[in-house]
């Protein structure tokens, strides 16, 4: 058990957990930031996607000891009141069915559009390939990423 000081969504937190605790579980069980979801624990489904220094990463494989001094953003910190253009596009298209994977989808999409604000259809499909939607709302996810790209430009 060690004490870790981490910066999440611009706020400083101090937690006492084992060194190997994945960021996912620190967020969920220790810091009550429940928007980041557990889906597979092996980096295969993307439900736990967060940003580390603006880059999308799967938090289920990322030990807390490796993110010290880095800037963590979760779905809760993406915007005030869901006003990020990607969140707005998600709402406009009414993407979710069950909704469980959507925070991870949105985090992947935002980091991707940051780097590539005007992606082609194939680039979108490639970028979102790591996120599973079990309800298969894929068509709307694709549309929402395209819409967000439009809104951003």
């Amino acid at each position: 058990m060690s004490k870790f000081d981490v910066k999440i969504n611009g706020q400083s937190y101090s937690v006492e957990v084992s060194d190997d605790t994945p960021v996912l579980w620190v967020l969920r069980d220790h810091l009550n930031l429940l928007g980041t979801k557990y889906g597979c624990g092996i980096g295969q489904c993307g439900s736990c996607t967060i940003h580390i220094d603006g880059v999308s990463m799967k938090s289920c494989l990322l030990p807390i000891s490796q993110v010290l001094g880095r800037s963590i953003t979760t779905i809760e910190g993406l915007s005030d009141n869901g006003t990020h253009p990607v969140q707005e596009a998600w709402k406009e298209i009414d993407v979710p069915q069950c909704g469980y994977c959507q925070a991870g989808q949105i985090m992947t999409a935002t980091a991707f559009l940051d780097k590539n604000p005007n992606p082609s259809k194939n680039e979108i499909r490639e970028a979102m390939h790591g996120n599973i939607c079990r309800c298969a709302s894929y068509n709307r996810i694709e549309q929402a990423v395209a819409k967000a790209s439009e809104n951003l430009s």
């Binding site: 928007g35 557990y38 889906g39 993406l78 069915q97 069950c98 909704g99 499909r125």
Partner: protein, 718 residues
């Protein structure tokens, strides 16, 4: 307006006035207002449909809260069911708050999400409930004005009389609470609908996109501990002994104990619980037998070759038809076990104390689950409360409540508030799977007509439910027989999105394609010809409507440009009826380096009135892609009782790049009462794809998952 006799009486339409802060709460048991038929698609005969509750709360300021009555698993009923009430209540949707029913009541009787039946069964009672509440408010206003209620009208939450006076609903709610429940209420003419038929966004959309805690797994309680459960790794094993000394010494671990054939690890966090569980050394011994997929394959084929069948429907004389046939076509179709893989793993919260049993979590069958927990813990049903959370998918898995029972047992033993959380591995390895099934279909052809049809089913554990033999092509072929045989396995199986039809549709609709080819008839025409034989049938057992099926087929032909697509595009057709809904689908594929790639899916659906087109489209697109995904990739093998895939590195679910990015959906415009939509788009998709692949490659797929077919997919990595 159509005047209808309300079946709502005082008993099923209870009112409680004097809400804190003013206003009226109207409670209703909407399923006693319109008793539903038994739902056939899943085995829920044990479930009680009679105690369904919902609530409308009208505040002094006229704002309306509708407590959505049914569990939300992503099928959209938390949005669409309140829409139906709001329509007849005649209020503006923007003035309606929707809350999941039951969260603040100690009445635990609840509802069911299953069989795509929520809207179908809710249609009449939900409309009657809204209309009854509206009429009571109008009556209260009329009494206040001293005029006859028939001289009053309502619009968007305001009541008008013919003198031009007006009163808001909020102005008369308290008076309305004192009135008798009207016997006759008027339902709106569909042409006057202002909410039904509009695109309404998911009521939880803002919470979902901002990551608010909504799901069972997000539930927290002071003092709550997390439980990870070690279960037998193989079906057919039981626990002999275990050594948890290492686990007990680990950080965060509170206690470790055995319950039944399982071991519970309680810890202060999920990570600590899951991590400690891995260190437990358990000895498992064989309890029954350890089964493998290769055994099942042999056993099911043996059943198909044998004579031990239960005949589910028999018309004419199939034996004679086959004996007299000019030509016989026979094919065998094979499907594997499938896990549900809800993205939110199974989980449940329980807090068992001397006073009460509190349960919170994602469950499709809250009532049944509470009943079972009452029995298991020997506690009075009155002691139990159950709160439903939003569910991260259901697909049938959350009908079973085994995870809730575990939580209750663990909390009962530890006397702590406990949340049981399945790891993904637990979720996939301790499933209640779609069973492996094989179908053998034969057709007798005489004078180039289909004169005989024989469907044989061989299924692990349980075969098709009794309505299915009356789906298409029942009634269209003179000599027709459906037989079923089952093999009892210790691998647990159950309902999986569109039970049985999820694979039967693939078998039959692939068969019709090949049958048409064998007979040299157009593939669509064969189906249309057969449907002619069903028109005017007096057989009340026949479930589908030939006219409605014909209509979706014609529209699919039209909208998909059937047979007229550009060179290099190959089409596959499929049409199916299930969950009271008629669907036709066309898949367009092209070949990329010889491998079929889906370009587009056209889907035509007749599900009656569309309550929320925005949500409906999402269900159809999801259903089609889910159907394609599982037909292409879904597969769970067993070896010596052990599931061979336990996470998404070895179990393949469809992902973005593999999806057709265009699923074009067309609904048949209709004012017929709505039918199921959560499931019916899935079953036809696999056959439409297989038929398109046949057109493109000449290879006929008879077995799921398709990806294992080397001839078509070659060395493409699974």
């Amino acid at each position: 307006m159509s005047k209808i006799k309300s079946t709502i009486d005082r008993r099923s339409f209870l009112k409680v006035s004097g809400l804190t802060g003013g206003g009226l709460i109207i409670g209703f048991n909407f399923f006693t207002a319109c008793k539903p038929e038994a739902v056939p698609a899943i085995d829920i005969s044990q479930l009680n449909f009679h105690d369904f509750n919902g609530f409308i709360k009208i505040a002094d300021n006229g704002m309306v809260t509708i407590f959505a009555p049914n569990p939300e698993i992503g099928q959209g009923v938390k949005t669409s069911m309140p829409m139906i009430i709001a329509e007849e209540l005649d209020v503006e949707w923007k003035n309606v708050f929707v809350v999941q029913g039951g969260l603040d009541t100690d009445v635990f009787e609840r509802q069911v999400a299953g069989g795509s039946q929520s809207i179908r069964h809710g249609w009449d009672p939900l409309r009657q409930t809204g209309a009854t509440a509206r009429q009571m408010l109008v009556n209260a206003a009329a009494a206040k004005w001293g005029v006859d209620a028939s001289e009053c009208t309502s619009e968007n939450g305001v009541i008008f009389n013919n003198k031009g006076e007006e009163l808001g609903y909020g102005d008369v709610v308290n008076e309305a609470a004192l009135l008798e429940v009207p016997k006759d209420v008027q339902l709106k003419d569909p042409k006057d609908y202002k909410i039904i038929g509009q695109n309404v966004k998911n009521v939880d959309i803002d919470k979902i996109i901002t990551g608010k805690p909504l799901f069972g797994i997000d539930y927290k309680r002071d003092g709550m501990v997390y439980a990870s459960v070690l279960r037998p790794p193989a079906f057919g094993q039981k626990l002999e002994s275990f050594d948890a000394s290492q686990a007990k010494a680990m950080e965060g671990v509170i206690e470790v104990f055995q319950f039944g054939d399982k071991v519970a690890v309680l810890a202060t966090s999920n990570w600590e619980a899951m991590r400690a569980k891995k260190t437990i050394k358990a000895n498992w011994i064989i309890d029954t037998n350890l089964e493998s997929t290769k055994d099942h394959d042999k056993i099911l084929l043996g059943l198909l070759n044998g004579k031990e069948f239960k005949t589910l429907r028999s018309d004419g004389n199939v034996k004679k038809a086959f004996a007299d046939a000019d030509q016989i076509l026979e094919r065998t179709y094979e499907s594997p076990f499938l896990p549900h893989n809800c993205l939110e793993p199974m989980n449940f919260f329980a807090n068992v104390t001397d006073e009460k049993v509190e349960l919170v979590g994602p469950i499709q069958t809250p009532k049944w689950t509470a009943d079972r927990i009452s029995k298991k813990l020997e506690r009075k049903i009155e002691d139990i409360t159950l709160e439903m959370t939003r569910m991260g998918g259901g697909f049938g898995r959350r009908l079973y409540g085994d995870f809730a029972l575990e939580a209750a047992e663990i909390s009962n033993i530890s006397r702590k508030p406990v949340q049981v959380v399945f790891s993904r591995e637990d979720d996939m390895a301790d499933g209640i799977y779609r069973m492996a099934i094989k179908y053998r279909i034969s057709a007798a052809i005489k004078n180039n007509k289909v004169v005989g049809y024989h469907l044989k089913e061989a299924a692990v554990n349980s075969g098709m439910y009794d309505l299915i033999p009356n789906f298409f092509p029942a009634g269209s072929i003179e000599n027709y027989q459906v037989d079923s045989a089952t093999y009892k396995s210790n691998i647990t199986t159950g309902a999986w999105r569109a039970p049985y039809t999820n694979f039967l549709s693939f078998a039959e609709q692939s068969f019709f394609d090949e049958l048409a080819e064998t007979m040299g008839i157009d593939r669509v025409q064969l189906r249309l010809d057969l449907l002619q034989n069903v028109k005017g049938t007096t057989d009340e057992k026949i479930q589908y409507s030939a006219e409605r099926m014909e209509a979706v087929i014609h529209k699919a032909v039209d909208k998909s440009n059937w047979g007229k697509v550009k060179e290099g595009v190959y089409q596959g057709f499929s049409a199916y009826y299930c969950h009271n809904t008629h669907v036709a689908e066309v898949v367009d594929v092209k070949l990329e380096s010889g491998v079929p790639v889906i370009e587009k899916v056209t889907c035509v659906i007749d599900c009656g009135v569309i309550v929320n087109p925005l949500g409906a489209l999402n269900q159809v697109e999801g259903g089609v892609i889910d159907g394609i995904g599982h037909a292409m990739y879904g597969n769970l093998d067993f070896k010596d009782g052990v599931p061979q895939s336990t996470n998404f590195d070895t179990y393949r679910l469809i992902r973005m790049k593999e999806t057709p990015s265009l699923v074009e959906t067309h609904f048949i415009e209709s004012d017929v009462a709505p039918t199921g939509l959560g499931e019916p788009a899935l079953p036809p998709a696999g056959a439409a794809l297989a038929n398109a692949i046949k057109a493109a490659t000449g290879v006929r797929l008879l077995k799921q998952p398709f990806i294992t077919n080397q001839e078509i997919f070659g060395l493409k990595k699974v």
